[in-house]
């Protein structure tokens, strides 16, 4: 597909190596004994700031494991992961949490939001946790994902698509430059899925955020700048065009 933003992002890949995500030869094995599986098998990946990358692949191929490693939630057995120029293996356990808070945004498949908090408070909580100057104004950010009118509602009163849009806003509120998204549209209908992914694409292009989205939904790949496929822990060439 041709996308002007994609070209701009590709250009910045060479120019700004210090931003975005860079994984080199990551290997990770999970489980022990008989159940031992290679979740990541020599994975290397670069995602530039402003680039929206989709990863597809069969269940159990290691997609979530890749997000865990990229998001400083798990350490690879070997290989390096660099986010915004920071080598994650250099960070202590406590520093990792602080690093995630201000540098990495997550959008999970479900249970993204805290049931007790209103839409605006979801963002305010993360802002308070981060407490840094880079944080965005929650209401303005909600406005940009079309959720400002629901600022005072709790997650229980929102539709699935609305919840994911709030989740996107929350992931970006601390000024994160890497956005990791795991199956954001798994429980949404077609129209809602498109809407959510459209927001993801727009936000990552507008804010110059490197976004990695794992999805099973081939319908939404048209919004992505690049698509990779994961099979048995190996990250490969773009999925064959259907």
């Amino acid at each position: 597909m041709t996308n002007p933003t994609f070209q701009a992002a590709s250009a910045s890949l060479a120019a700004l190596p210090a931003t975005g995500l860079s994984i080199r030869h990551a290997v990770m094995e999970l489980g022990d004994g008989d159940t031992r599986v290679t979740a990541l098998d020599d994975v290397s990946l670069d995602v530039a700031s402003g680039e929206f990358l989709a990863i597809v692949g069969p269940s159990g191929s290691g997609k979530s494991s890749l997000l865990a490693v990229a998001g400083a939630l798990a350490s690879p057995d070997s290989g390096t992961v660099t986010v915004n120029g920071q080598d994650l293996s250099q960070l202590s356990q406590g520093k990792r949490a602080a690093f995630r808070l201000s540098n990495i945004g997550f959008v999970f498949q479900s249970g993204n939001l805290i049931p007790a908090l209103t839409t605006a408070d979801q963002l305010r909580l993360v802002n308070r946790l981060a407490g840094g100057p880079k944080t965005f104004d929650p209401v303005a950010l909600l406005e940009s994902v079309g959720m400002a009118h629901r600022a005072a509602n709790r997650p229980g009163q929102l539709s699935g698509g609305e919840r994911q849009r709030v989740g996107i806003a929350r992931a970006l509120v601390t000024g994160a430059k890497l956005l990791l998204v795991d199956e954001p549209t798994a429980s949404l209908d077609r129209a809602r899925s498109r809407e959510v992914v459209e927001h993801l694409a727009r936000q990552s292009h507008e804010h110059g955020v490197a976004t990695v989205m794992v999805t099973h939904d081939h319908d939404v790949l048209g919004y992505c700048d690049r698509v990779l496929e994961m099979v048995d822990g190996r990250l490969g060439a773009p999925a064959p065009v259907r």
Binding site: L73, S102, I104, I114, L117, D121, L129, A130, E183
Partner: protein, 380 residues
């Protein structure tokens, strides 16, 4: 506390149920504390108000009822007066008596025989002090029995007549019976069995051949530390400090132990119930906590938030329960030994909150074991 407060409001149904249990425990705590203080006052207020450091009982006296069982003599008194650090020591006689007022009302009295003018003489709220051979100073609580200044009580069986000349300052009861202070000589006359019916006369008093009393009451010099063991060796007594001597009053130990045991169980229940609630609450929130940790919330922040939530719940509802307990306590019937005292209630409140917090802390620590990786993927 950003999250803690919002969760309290969001899950107010669950938290109010838990808070209701905490409040009821607090009500029960206040009631037990009031009952316990009331029983203590009823049992030993007569001793509590005395300016005494220690009581010396005859060596080998059994603890329960030791006051009326022990017999001491002048040698023992003199030995105690010679002990270092002793400001004053006096003989004191203790005995129980049944009596009848002029109007035919039957009353029970604990007779405290003390030397008139000595440090053992009680401070009074009304009337004159001890002196005349038949004059007694009785507990102010005896007024409820219809006893007034000038009332003459006749001791049952022996027929000795005693006249109320004063009331103590506040409650003075011993073994749940009103105390009547009387001159030691008169006490000795009555106890010797040589008393005749009617008002004790000076001739009877000087004729009585009975010089022992029940205990030696010892007052230490201010600031001096009394060596009780040395005094006991010198005098052939076994002494107890004032508060330890409470146990020598009738039934005191059994009553206080029963109440203490109930209180200990309540504290344990409080810690367990609060712990169980927060364990379930934390497990219910497992997924959202893993999301928060994945986002980057520090363990310390989440622990502080969880503990603050428990503290708000405990302090709020304990205060509510204590207030309700105080209200209920004020409405207790007169006959019930019940006394609301600030210090024991403050202790009970502090312990309820403190032990509840320990229970909650054990549960909330689970937060640190929740893996942020759980947030990834669809599994819940």
């Amino acid at each position: 506390m950003f999250l803690a407060l919002r969760e309290l409001i969001f899950a107010r149904g669950r938290f109010s149920l838990m808070g209701g249990v905490i409040a009821l425990i607090a009500v029960l705590m206040v009631m037990l504390s009031g009952l316990s203080s009331g029983l203590v006052n009823d049992g030993v207020s007569g001793l509590k108000s005395m300016p005494v450091t220690a009581f010396a009982f005859d060596q080998g006296t059994k603890t329960d009822n030791a006051f009326s069982r022990s017999v001491i003599d002048d040698q023992q008194l003199i030995a105690w007066r010679g002990v270092e650090g002793v400001a004053a020591a006096e003989k004191m006689g203790v005995g129980m008596a049944n009596a009848t007022t002029e109007s035919g009302k039957q009353v029970d009295l604990t007779l405290f025989g003390v030397e008139p003018g000595s440090f053992l003489e009680p401070s009074r709220s009304a009337g004159t002090g001890l002196g005349s051979s038949d004059g007694i100073v009785v507990s102010s609580t005896a007024k409820a029995e219809g006893i007034e200044l000038g009332t003459v009580v006749t001791l049952d069986r022996i027929g000795t007549k005693l006249k109320v000349v004063g009331f103590t300052d506040g409650q003075a009861t011993f073994g749940h019976v009103d105390v009547a202070y009387l001159p030691l000589k008169t006490w000795q006359l009555i106890t010797s069995g040589q008393a005749a019916a009617g008002t004790p006369t000076a001739a009877q008093l000087s004729a009585v051949d009975f010089h022992t009393a029940s205990v030696v009451a010892v007052q230490a010099k201010s600031g001096a530390k009394l060596d009780l063991a040395a005094g006991d060796t010198a005098a052939g007594t076994s002494s107890k400090s004032l508060s330890a001597a409470f146990n020598a009053s009738p039934g005191y130990e059994a009553e206080t132990m029963t109440l203490s045991m109930i209180q200990v169980f309540l504290y344990a229940i409080c810690a367990l119930v609060v712990g169980a609630f927060f364990t379930v609450w934390t497990i219910q929130r497992k997924h959202e906590i893993s999301v928060l940790r994945a986002i980057g919330a520090s363990t310390g922040y989440l622990l502080r938030d969880g503990l603050a939530q428990a503290a708000i719940l405990l302090v709020g509802f304990t205060a509510l329960g204590v207030a309700a307990g105080l209200g209920l306590g004020a409405a207790m019937p007169e006959a019930m030994p019940f006394a609301l005292e600030a210090a024991p209630i403050a202790t009970a409140t502090g312990l309820t909150i403190g032990l509840g917090l320990i229970g909650a802390a054990v549960a909330v620590v689970r937060i640190s074991r929740i893996d942020p990786l759980n947030a990834l993927g669809g599994q819940r």
